[in-house]
Each structure stands twice: as structure tokens, then as C-alpha cells.
Symmetry: C2
Subunit: 330 residues, 2 copies
């Protein structure tokens, strides 16, 4: 970390240095970190951040905010088939921030850094007159030339998604309007499920190796399945046909959808899923499913890649139309 004055030095030494477990982090006491890249590997680099009031509520638990911003980046790495190597962190803290907040943030961050094998390498802390923000730049490795791209889907490929779609977007809606839990007739467990899925995505790091082995093209679903699959199709110069009835929904999402059928748009175009959408040759599907079972990640065949343009979401043979294809914080 760039050490700026004693207040920052003290915070870094106390809360972030214990997370800098990689030798190349140099205990956060130098201008930069150093990494020897594994030989025969490419580096995969991504960055994503969160801002209070935009991507999270200022009173969300700090440990969860930290884990979410790291996981957003881990999700990108997993979708590219990359194994995590480490990350840089930038935090901008309002003057009013309590040290207990920083302690809880660092604790959550450290837990996930360890759980996902992605140590803190360095970073930068500053005070800001604005809202709190946290940005991660994360690095992973793939065998040379093997990063899984968006642009390599082929007609005939199966379209697959991991996990469940729509929970996080429903969780955000519900968090903004408490009446919805009742209107959607959710059990306490269902309501909690949606909330957790919004606050704490599950990056599919365990599936990265299988994505690398089998996927023709892949990306992470962070801005809604409809818009993200459309981007993948655009990059690949292909189209996709998705059977909406096969899009995997949790019990909670199914309950909400039964109570309010218009929620299908929120489910399919809302953000923050942090699942992977990928395409693969049909003959690879069984091997991929076996690898996914081993990694304890659910996967679902939701459609096919075809020649043409655009991603169509079909219900009873009719393409759904959406007011907004992607969730945008922008």
C-alpha cells in the first residue's frame, strides 16, 4: 500500500497487513508488490468496485461489503477459467468512518481472501468527502492462450448457466420495499435467501477449471442474463434461443414469480447474479456436468446458440420483450 502519513500507516499495519500473506506483498511496506508469474501461464486481469448508495446501502455490514467487492472480481476470473492469484485494494473512506467499521471490513475481506486463495498484494487508502468506495483489481492465471472469451461461441453450442438466476435482483427489490416479502408470500427462509444472495454473491471459482476445459465461450452474469447473453452473442457474431421455462429459479424466486408474474423481467434482466453463462459443444455437456457435480455447482442447459443476431428468451414459443435488457448502475 502507498503509505500516506501515520494515520493511514497505522490502519494499514493493524487491519490490512495481516491479509498480505503473499511474500510478494512485502508486508505492504513497499511502493509496489511483486509476483513471479507461474511459467507457461497468462495473467488474467480484472477490476470492479462498489460505491455506497450505488452498489450497497451505507449501513450494510462492512464485512459483507468487503466480501462482495472481492467476489465480484473473483466471479470475472472464474468466468474466464482463471485461478485466483491475488488482488490490489483501493478504499476511499469518509472522515466519519469508525475504526470498528474498518476492522469488520478487513476481517470479511481476509476470510474470503483465504477461502478463495486470493491474497491481498497491495493497495491504497484515502479519505474522501464523498461516499465510501472500494475497488479491487484482481489477477488470475490460465494456461497460455487459454483464457475463455466471450467471442468464441458457435452455432450448435448448448447455452448453460450456473446456480440460480434472479435471486439477487429480487433481494434488492425486497430490501428497498419491505412490503414485498408479504406481497410475494415468502417464508422467512425464502426472504432471507434472497437477501443473502443480494448481499453475498457466490463466485464460481470451484468451476473455473471445468469452464477452462469445456466452455467454448463464457462470461459472468452480473448485469442480468438477458443483456449479458446478448453481449456474448454480439461478441461471437451468433444468436441464442433460451427457453425461459428452463432458466433455473430458487424456491424463493419461484414463489415471488407465482405471486407476481411480471417479476420475470426483474429475474432475467436484474443485476448481481454473479453466475456464469457459457456455451459449449453438445458432446462436451456430460463431461462438464460431471465436473460441475464434483465442484458442487449446479448447472442448467437453458438453450442453444444459433446463427443470427441477438439473444431471444422464448416462452411457449414467443420471444419475451423487455423494457430494459440490463441492469445499470450507470
Amino acid at each position: 500500500m502507498a503509505e500516506r502519513g501515520s494515520a493511514e500507516d497505522r490502519l494499514i499495519a493493524r487491519y490490512f497487513k495481516p491479509l498480505a500473506t503473499a511474500p510478494g506483498a512485502l508486508g505492504l511496506t513497499d511502493d509496489a508488490a511483486v509476483l513471479t508469474p507461474p511459467s507457461g501461464c497468462d495473467l488474467v486481469l480484472t477490476t470492479d468496485g462498489v460505491i455506497a448508495g450505488v452498489h450497497f446501502m451505507p449501513n450494510d455490514p462492512p464485512g459483507l461489503i468487503a466480501r462482495k467487492v472481492l467476489r465480484m472480481n473473483l466471479s470475472d476470473l472464474a468466468a474466464k477459467g482463471a485461478k485466483p492469484l491475488g488482488f490490489l485494494l483501493t478504499v476511499a473512506l469518509p472522515e466519519s468512518i469508525e475504526e470498528t467499521w474498518i476492522a469488520a471490513f478487513a476481517k470479511g475481506l481476509g476470510e474470503d481472501a483465504e477461502a478463495y486463495g486470493c491474497p491481498l498484494l497491495g493497495g491504497d487508502t484515502d479519505h474522501t468527502p464523498g461516499p465510501l468506495s472500494a475497488t479491487v483489481a484482481a489477477f488470475g492465471t490460465v494456461p497460455q492462450g487459454k483464457m475463455v472469451r466471450r467471442s468464441t461461441a458457435k452455432p450448435g453450442d448448448v447455452v448453460v448457466v450456473t446456480g440460480m438466476i434472479g435471486d439477487a435482483a429480487l433481494g434488492l427489490l425486497k430490501q428497498k420495499d419491505n412490503i414485498l416479502q408479504k406481497r410475494w408470500q415468502l417464508s422467512v427462509e425464502q426472504s432471507d435467501h434472497l437477501k443473502v444472495r443480494y448481499l453475498l454473491p457466490e463466485p464460481r471459482t470451484a468451476l473455473a477449471e471445468a469452464v477452462l476445459q469445456h466452455a467454448a465461450a463464457a462470461m459472468d452474469v452480473s448485469d442480468g442474463l438477458v443483456g449479458d447473453l446478448a453481449k456474448l452473442c454480439h461478441a461471437s457474431g451468433v444468436a441464442a434461443e433460451v427457453d425461459v421455462s428452463r432458466v433455473p429459479l430458487s424456491d424463493a424466486a419461484q414463489a415471488a414469480l407465482a405471486a407476481d408474474p411480471t417479476l420475470i423481467e426483474t429475474i432475467l434482466t436484474g443485476g448481481d447474479d454473479y453466475e456464469i453463462v457459457l456455451t459449449l459443444a453438445p458432446q462436451r455437456f456430460d463431461a462438464f456436468r460431471a465436473a460441475a457435480q464434483k465442484a458442487d455447482v449446479e448447472i442448467t442447459d437453458i438453450g442453444r446458440v444459433v446463427a443470427g443476431e441477438g439473444a431471444q428468451f422464448l416462452r411457449n414459443g414467443n420471444a419475451l420483450a423487455f423494457a430494459h435488457r440490463s441492469y445499470s448502475h450507470f
Copy 2:
């Protein structure tokens, strides 16, 4: 760049994609960038950012803000002896931002990315309810095991700084209080010099190879020479004695100091120099000076590393005492 919705897509495609000249940036159309690290090299990673109202004035020229944040990171790489490889950019934009601002920001960024051989690899843009901020994570390479550290200075080493010290801190003071140009009896040229040195640091990228070859220890001077040299000494378990009369000052800084001798504290402890302070064995000094001349970078022998603790700044044999050793935005 993580593309979030059409407004961001359009901005990225129009203004940032032309900067993504490295093949591994994939035209900013994927979740991540990919790099094949040069064989036999370590990667050097650093991150530093700026926030409006903290590190720059909201009405500073956007092209200069962009160049400064990239240069701050290039300065860290140069101090480590690293050759630039590329960078990730995160920008948080207020809703009120004009597209012309973004165009000018991207133009300045692109000019420096090209000039320093450090292409844009990817990034993230978001809107923020707070002040504008920009964060760069930059990557460089050094031969394996050769990154120049802070912790390897030895008693007997010569202490060297590049360029001139204190200009940027004086430039900031002057920018905050227009009366100072008159009080310091600066010519227009001198006044402009201080302003430019504050707005646009000169990373010593051209000297990185010589630092790598000759330095025992090095760091960039970004938070004031006094505090930064103290950090280097602390990391190395040594002390340093600096002759204040040998610290290199520009004409402008000399004029200001003549008008107000108390400015020595601003000069020595102010931030934003973005020079390099390094130590080297005396027998290496001539070769280093020759390399610096070839790179067209001024260097000055300002003192010696000795056994002990702390960095002393001596004037007529007496150690100066400072109210604040480092400039801190924190």
C-alpha cells in the same frame, strides 16, 4: 471494462477503446484482460488514485487529471526499476459530468499511455453521487528477483534524489492562495513552473533501467522527502544524513525560499514530488550519473546512509525539526 448498460458501453467504446491498444485488452469487450508475462520476469503491481477536492481541484483540466493519476503509478514503477506493461482504470463520474470532460480526460490519458508505453488493458466506470475519482492499477516488469526495494539500503550508501524537490508542494500552496506569487516575488515563468510541477509530475520512467542496475534501495518521493526517506531508512534498518544545502531546488523554489525561509518545511515535507530517492554504493555513483545523463534526468547526491535510526536533515551541522514529516491526504 465491465460494460454496464448502454450509456457506459457508448462512453467506453467512444473514448476508452481507442486507448486499449494491447491485444490482451480485447478492445475492452470482455470481462477481463489477458497478458502473457515476458519470460524470466517478475510482475510489479501498484495502485494509486485521485479524488476531486482531495488530490485535485474539480476545475483542473481533465486531461491533466488523467495524466497525473497515470503518472503517479508510473512513478512507483520507475522507483522499483520496472518497465511499464499496462494498466487498469476505474473512474467514478458524477451524474453532472459533461461528455466533453470525459473526452478530454481520455485524450490526456491516451497521450501518456502512448508516451510511456503503458497501454490501457481494462477497467470499470460507474456513476457516483460523490466527487469524481479515478484509480489506476499499473503493472510493470523487472528481471526475476530484481525489483528494487525500500529495505535494502546499507550504511555507506550515497543518498540520491532525481529532479527537483518541493516544486509541487509550493505549486499547490500558490494555487490555494494567489497572493503568494507576489509575496514570493516570482516571475511569471517561475510561477508557471511551480503550477505545472504540481499539476503534472514527471515520472522517471527513463531512469528505471539505471535504478535497476545500480540502486541498493529506492522509493518514489510522493509524500515529502523527509517522511519518505524516513520510511526507506526504517524499512532498511539504517539511518541517513542529508545535507539540506544539497537538496536540489528549482529557480522558482529558490526564489520562494529566499522570500520566506520557513518554506523549507513545505519543500522537504510537502507531497507530490514524484521523484525517486535512492541509495547506492559510492563506487556505483559515477556509472549511475552517466546513465542518468543519458536518460536526461538530473540526479543529486544529497547525503549518506549511516548506521542507526531515522533520517536527519542537517543545515550547518544542525538537524532540522519538522512539525509534520509527511504530507497526508488521509
